[in-house]
C-alpha cells in the first residue's frame, strides 16, 4: 500500500492501533516524531521526540535504512532502473517479515510471532 501523495496515513495508523488493542495487547504509549497528526485522539499517550532530533525515534527510522538497502540490492542485482522502487519496496517488506528477527533471538520470524505459524518461503 503505497500512497500517491505524502499525506500521513493517520486513519490507517489509528485503525492499526485500535485493532491491536483488541488483540490483548494494550497500546498505552505511542512514540512519534514531531508530526503531531495523532494528537487529536485521546486514546493513546503520545511521546513525541524532542525538536530536531529524529534519532530519538530510532525504532521507526531504522526500517528506512534497512528497506532502502534491500530495495537497492534487489534492483542492482536484477539490473532494473530506479523507477521500479515501489515494487521492490513492497517485496522487501514481504520478505523482511518472514526473515528471523534479532529481537526474537533469531529463533522466530515476525510472521510467526504475529500469526503463530511458520512462513513458507518455497515460492520465492
Amino acid at each position: 500500500m503505497l500512497s500517491k501523495n505524502k499525506d500521513p496515513p493517520v486513519d490507517f495508523v489509528r485503525d492499526f492501533l485500535a485493532t491491536h488493542k483488541d488483540r490483548n495487547c494494550p497500546v498505552i504509549r505511542v512514540r512519534t516524531d514531531q508530526g503531531g497528526e495523532l494528537c487529536a485522539s485521546n486514546e493513546f499517550i503520545l511521546e513525541p521526540t524532542g525538536a530536531g532530533d529524529p534519532a530519538q525515534n530510532g525504532k521507526a527510522e531504522s526500517p528506512n535504512k534497512i528497506f532502502g538497502k534491500m530495495m537497492r540490492g534487489m534492483l542492482y542485482n536484477a539490473g532494473l532502473g530506479s523507477e521500479f522502487w515501489s515494487y521492490a519496496l513492497l517485496h522487501a517488506v514481504y520478505v523482511k517479515n518472514r526473515l528471523p528477527h534479532s529481537a526474537l533471538h533469531m529463533q522466530r520470524s515476525s510472521y510467526e510471532a504475529y500469526t503463530g505459524g511458520k512462513p513458507n518461503l518455497s515460492l520465492l
Partner: protein, 142 residues
C-alpha cells in the same frame, strides 16, 4: 532428486531414459542435468531473501521457515555480492566524466576505494598533508 538442477542442453534433449546400463549409453546422453553446488545455492538464496547477512542465510532461515533448504557451506556469497556493496550507495555518480570504463568487478584485490577528501585526525599530526586512506575489498588499509 533433491536440490536445484539446471540443464546444460535444451529441454527436449534432457528427456531420455535415465537408468540405462552405463556401457550401453551413447555418448550424447551423458550427464545433461547438473546439480547446483552448495556455494551456488547459498548465493541463490542470498539473492532470493533480499541480500541478508551470513547468519540469516546460513543457519537461521531454514529453522524459522518452511521451504528453504539448510545452507551451511558456501559462505562467501555475502562478501562476493556486488549488489550488496552498491546497495549502500544512496546516490550514484551522474556524470561519467571521470569514469574511464564501465566495469563490473568481482574478486579480492581488484577494486580499491580511494577517498580524496580530508582525513581528519591524521592531518593534525602529520606534516605531509597528502595522507589518504585507500581501502581494498579485502579490508587492507594503507
Amino acid at each position: 532428486m533433491n536440490g536445484l538442477w539446471y540443464a546444460t542442453q535444451p529441454l527436449l534433449d534432457c528427456i531420455r531414459p535415465r537408468y540405462k546400463d552405463w556401457n550401453d549409453t551413447p555418448e550424447s546422453t551423458i550427464p545433461i542435468l547438473r546439480r547446483l553446488s552448495k556455494a551456488a545455492m547459498h548465493e541463490l538464496w542470498h539473492q532470493r531473501l533480499c541480500h541478508p547477512g551470513e547468519t540469516v542465510v546460513a543457519s537461521a532461515v531454514s529453522r524459522t521457515s518452511e521451504g528453504v533448504p539448510t545452507l551451511t557451506n558456501g559462505r562467501n556469497a555475502f562478501f562476493k555480492c556486488d549488489a550488496c556493496t552498491r546497495a549502500k550507495m544512496k546516490r550514484t555518480a551522474k556524470s561519467t566524466k571521470h569514469m574511464t570504463r564501465e566495469s563490473s568487478v568481482y574478486g579480492a584485490g581488484q577494486m580499491f576505494y580511494v577517498d580524496f577528501g580530508f582525513v581528519r585526525g591524521s592531518d593534525y599530526h602529520m606534516k605531509d598533508k597528502g595522507g589518504r586512506i585507500i581501502t581494498s575489498r579485502d579490508g587492507y588499509h594503507s
